[in-house]
């Protein structure tokens, strides 16, 4: 860390007045896969890349953040076995909302049957828009204002043709249904956020593809925020890396989360269950949350799970969970994240160009 964050003497984790937990969770990954070797073949003539991403998930012609969020939210509701009319907020974090103006969240709320007595809004904070919505949801449920909140992180990420991002910019995400801790599959033990104005990655209004600060994305952006949020939360909760059975980081590629884990004292096996970037790429706002769903699919009662997101611009949310005995009975009520990842149809660059609207037809 070349420029450490200023630290406070005592970090108090964020905790709601009423205990809050994960009532249900749901994943979605579209079925198409574009191998990184195929991107390399088109643009470099080689077949390798240094990001340790084998392939990325690509949305089909009839899919977008709306349709993918609807399916993930339905999966979360199925696992929670609740009546969707009790959901008081539907929040969707993404940087690929289909409309520039008109909420994704109202369409999702309508489709899952949460309308009309609910809040609905779209969240924006690059890749951490979903965990931002979770944080707010913890507040809404934990204050007693709402019984249930569904927070979604979902993206159909775009990389400029030939850009380094094109190897990894994938599609997918997850929905986390927050509710009272007493009926939850995992209890929230605390959360913590760090944010600074760091210009590592951005996309201006009306621009189709993002810009990035090249090497600037690593140390001052990703690693500084992720490690600070994680270490301060663990410190505030009186825990260390060894107390967590699983840790999930935002995954812009496979190397960044592995290095972050190493810096924080985690062993590779603690990252394993939630490290999905090698198989689906970087799903942006969906990335950390999808990893969390893959962990929930496997975690045993009593195990602690640490989730650490990262959003360019820049900031990081760290959230600590403890899995309850209810998890095992409920998780098979919706398809596992592994089921979605195994559902795989490989495409070439030509089909990718068609599916992602990279061909000008007029």
């Amino acid at each position: 860390m070349n420029q450490p964050m200023p630290t406070q003497a005592e970090i108090k984790p964020m905790l709601p007045v009423l205990p809050v937990g994960v009532a249900g969770y749901g994943a979605y990954v579209p079925r198409f896969r574009l191998p990184a070797a195929e991107v390399a073949r088109v643009w470099t003539g080689n077949t390798g890349n240094s990001l340790a991403v084998t392939e990325k998930a690509v949305a089909g012609l009839d899919e977008d953040v709306v349709t993918m969020s609807i399916e993930a939210a339905r999966n979360a509701i199925a696992r929670a076995e609740i009546d969707p009319v009790d959901i008081r907020a539907v929040w969707v974090g993404s940087e690929s909302h289909p409309y520039a103006v008109k909420p994704t969240a109202t369409i999702v709320a309508e489709a899952i049957g949460a309308v009309p007595h609910t809040q609905a809004a779209d969240w924006q904070f690059a890749c951490k828009a979903g965990t931002e919505a979770i944080q707010a949801g913890i507040g809404l449920v934990g204050s007693g204002m709402a019984r249930y909140v569904v927070a979604i992180g979902m993206d159909t990420a775009q990389g400029r043709p030939g850009d380094a991002l094109e190897y990894t910019a994938g599609a997918g995400g997850a929905a986390i249904l927050l509710g009272p801790a007493a009926e939850s599959l995992a209890v929230i033990e605390g959360s913590h956020s760090v944010v600074t104005d760091t210009p590592d990655f951005w996309r201006r209004q009306h621009e189709r593809y993002p810009e990035h600060g090249q090497r600037f994305t690593g140390e001052p952006a990703y690693f500084r925020h992720v490690t600070t949020a994680a270490s301060e939360l663990m410190q505030g909760l009186g825990t260390t890396a060894g107390d967590y059975a699983h840790v999930v980081f935002h995954q812009p590629n496979a190397k960044f989360p592995q290095r972050a884990g190493q810096l924080l004292g985690f062993k590779p096996e603690q990252l394993e269950a939630g490290l999905l970037a090698p198989f689906i790429g970087n799903t942006y706002a969906g990335s950390a949350l999808l990893g969390l769903t893959a962990v929930f699919d496997k975690a045993a009662a009593g195990e602690r799970v640490l989730l650490v997101s990262f959003g360019s611009g820049a900031g990081s949310d760290a959230i600590a969970f403890r899995v309850t005995a209810r998890m095992q009975a409920q998780r098979d009520l919706a398809p596992s994240t592994a089921t979605y990842i195994a559902r795989r149809t490989q495409i070439d660059y030509a089909l990718y160009a068609r599916y992602r609207g990279k061909l000008a037809l007029q």
């Binding site: 079925r31 089909g60 012609l61 009839d62 899919e63 977008d64 709306v66 349709t67 609807i70 399916e71 289909p98 409309y99 369409i107 309508e110 489709a111 049957g113 098979d332 009520l333 919706a334 398809p335 089921t339 979605y340 559902r343 149809t345």
Partner: protein, 155 residues
């Protein structure tokens, strides 16, 4: 494309909300004014589970206006567990695997878009069943609510 018409069809398109005839129990989807079985006019609304199987299908190459971007695609008659036969696109399928009797489930997908500036229309399609059916879902509803195939096709 008419914005108001799409809006009125939302509960049907997004959530597969149909009707159950209060007189004879027939499940009706999409909604209509009279029960095809008993001509009854009093209904309760019913959210269909979206599970069923492919009754028949065809591949569309020459798509109607508004659907050209999706061609070629599969159009199917799907027999829902609750009885009704619905016409819908199949998605996430390949020519080699789609077949009559294929178990399918409803998903909400983008049906069409009105150019670069118009609205996006979402609605139901069906795809091969992804999740495991729960034991209580494997059982179809009692026979009395099933609409005979001939009637449903005629409708």
């Amino acid at each position: 494309m008419e914005v108001s018409r799409n809006w009125r069809l939302q509960s049907q398109r997004y959530r597969m909300e149909g009707l159950r005839c209060e007189q004879c129990g027939t499940v009706i989807f999409p909604a209509r004014a009279h029960c095809p079985q008993c001509a009854g006019e009093s209904f309760a609304s019913l959210a269909l589970r979206g599970l069923g199987e492919v009754y028949s299908f065809t591949q569309v190459h020459d798509a109607p206006a508004g659907f050209e971007h999706d061609a070629p695609f599969f159009l199917a008659l799907v027999r829902l567990d609750e009885g009704p036969l619905v016409t819908a696109q199949l998605t996430d399928v390949e020519r080699e695997t789609v077949h009559i009797g294929m178990p399918v489930e409803m998903v909400t997908r983008k049906l069409r878009e009105d150019g670069e500036r118009g609205m996006l229309v979402y609605g139901y399609k069906f795809r091969p069943l992804l999740r495991q059916r729960r034991p209580d879902e494997a059982v179809a509803l009692p026979a009395r609510v099933r609409v005979p195939a001939t009637e449903a096709v005629a409708a």
